[in-house]
Amino acid sequence: MMQAQDVQTASSPAAPLLAVRDVSVVFGGIIALNGVSFDMQHGQILGLIGPNGAGKTTLFNCLSRLYQPSAGDILMEGTSILSRPPHRIAEIGIGRTFQNVALFANLSVLDNVRIGTHARTHSNIVSDSLRLPRVRRSESEIDRRVHEVLGYLDLEDVAHVMVSGLPFGTQKRVELARALATDPKILLLDEPAGGLNHEEVHVLGDLIRRIRDERKMTVLLVEHHMGLVMSIADHVVALNFGRKLSEGTPAQVQSDPDVIKAYLGSKHQ
């Protein structure tokens, strides 16, 4: 075991934090993903791009265990995550946001972010009903963490507001706060720029970089917005029709003729 790790360390600069290995997903005869492989290194911002229907969200949902790959494996720090049920993904350090914002609409910002700490805390219905001293301690620890995250994302002012009443951009920030509250090693962001205006996208890009640098997180960014991906990603994986089309630095992927063809279509048809 140790030896195997050593060999891996020797061959690449560092063992990958997350390894996607030949993952395929089939939905009733439709191949949504076909043997996709890539690695995510510690501290990387990895951009996953591709036209509509390329399989980005499918892959994303494999990582958060909503879909079961029909073949292949996904390794987090060398251990397969595929035997874990979806609710046991947060505890190994994978946090996510959703494409169309999936907040708890009837709860306050505070409660939404508190729920983010669920996987990192413990309690049972008896101790919670009796509000035992250890529940009080745990609750104040939760609040301390939640307020730190709210402060970080500048959400303190709306802490007590119900999320359904907030503007879309703020809701997206609340979702990010909720994901940060899970204290993840890997942050999965599903189209975070969707629905944001030019200015907001720019701010978002800075924020994602800051989160990576200051909170030591690794980020997987699934995104349509090319400008955002190309400006902040260290590494880009391009998908098309469920296959990996290209991989490399943003510049490499951007100049790859296959990628250009997939996005713009061929010049000579």
Binding site: I89, F104, R114
Partner: protein
């Protein structure tokens, strides 16, 4: 794939009013408790008995509120849990000579187990289908209680007669009054526990599931576990209410626990405000007193009058008593200025 995506964008099945608070402030709560504690001193035994019934139904409505308002699961089968609680208590008192007060926690535990186990297969159902499954349970329960094999314990169609407890410690208090204070103490304790629960990590897990199951799961919440727990807790509290009910009316019989009771409790929850625990007592008052009011208006058409009154309530305040409370709060706030 489509199913999973639909759930993500699904609007919550339970519409909550535009304010988060699930409880009253300390001051209001204490004032209400004080009022409830004082009234019997100036009331006749019959009124005291009605107030006991009010508290018992409020407890049952509260239990449903935790399930539906808290975890977003529907139930039209609460009468089944109420019946199991009532019978457990009656059987323990009459056949095992167990003290009435001790039968309450036992009934609660039995009903918790029953609800928890029912919640397991019910996990596969949601929304209106879950309501139908629980409805089936409520329909089946009276007949199950009449079964010949159970007759030595349940007394079959005849049911069981229960002795009314005297006030303990030589207190000079009528049986009705003692039972009222006993019920008030039990209900207050359960109300406090419920408020604690809903404000805690477990309660937030319930509400997360209510609002978005997929996101809840991504936050590490074991959706199946918390859904069955919510069923268990709701059934357990309903069971305690049933046991108190058996002690109060001194009698259990299968046909006291028909699906009508389940629907009444559901009605009480809606009138009180889904997800607003203090509304439970308002909802209970509605299901106990409004039929009487309807009857006093017109004996022959009491059902129709009740229907009209119910329609008015739903039409004028779709969020139930909570809406009135919020309106009152704003009004007081304005007058204060």
């Amino acid at each position: 794939m489509a199913a999973a995506q639909e759930v993500v964008t699904e609007t919550p099945t339970v519409e909550a009013p535009p304010k988060r608070a699930m409880t009253l402030g300390y001051g209001t709560s204490l004032a209400l408790l004080g009022l409830l504690a004082l009234v019997p001193l100036f009331a006749k035994n019959f009124i005291i008995f009605q107030m006991t019934t009010l508290l018992i139904y409020a407890l049952a409505v509260l239990a449903l509120n935790i399930l539906t308002g808290g975890s977003g699961q529907f139930s039209l089968g609460q009468s089944a849990f109420y019946a199991v609680g009532a019978y457990s208590s009656a059987i323990l008192m009459e056949h095992a000579n167990i003290n009435y007060a001790l039968t309450l926690p036992i009934s609660g535990v039995i009903c918790f187990a029953f609800g928890y186990l029912f919640g397991k297969p019910a996990l596969r159902l949601s929304g209106i289908y879950l309501a139908l499954a629980t409805f089936a349970l409520a329909t089946a329960m009276p007949q199950l209680l009449k079964l010949g094999v159970l007759e030595p314990w349940t007394g079959g169609v005849q049911g069981l007669v229960v002795d009314k407890p005297d006030a303990p410690f030589g207190l000079k208090m009528s049986q009705d009054m003692w039972l009222y204070y006993f019920t008030l103490a039990v209900s207050t304790a359960i109300y406090i526990f419920s408020v604690n629960l809903l404000k805690s990590r477990s309660g937030r897990a319930f509400m997360a599931i209510r609002d978005n199951e997929i996101a809840a799961s991504a936050m590490g919440i074991d959706v199946a576990r918390y859904k069955t727990l919510a069923f268990g807790i709701s059934a357990g509290i309903t069971g305690v209410a049933g046991a108190l009910g058996a002690i109060a009316v001194q009698f259990v019989a299968p046909d006291s626990y028909t699906v009508t009771l389940a629907i009444s409790l559901f009605l009480g929850m809606v009138v009180g405000g889904v997800g607003w625990l203090p509304g439970s007592i308002v909802g209970a008052a509605f299901i106990i007193f409004v039929p009487n009011i309807a009857e006093s208006i017109s004996k022959g058409l009491s059902g129709a009058v009740f229907g009209v009154l119910l329609f008015l309530v739903i039409f004028l305040m779709p969020h139930g008593a909570r809406q009135v409370a919020m309106f009152g709060q704003r009004l007081v706030g304005k007058l204060w200025k």
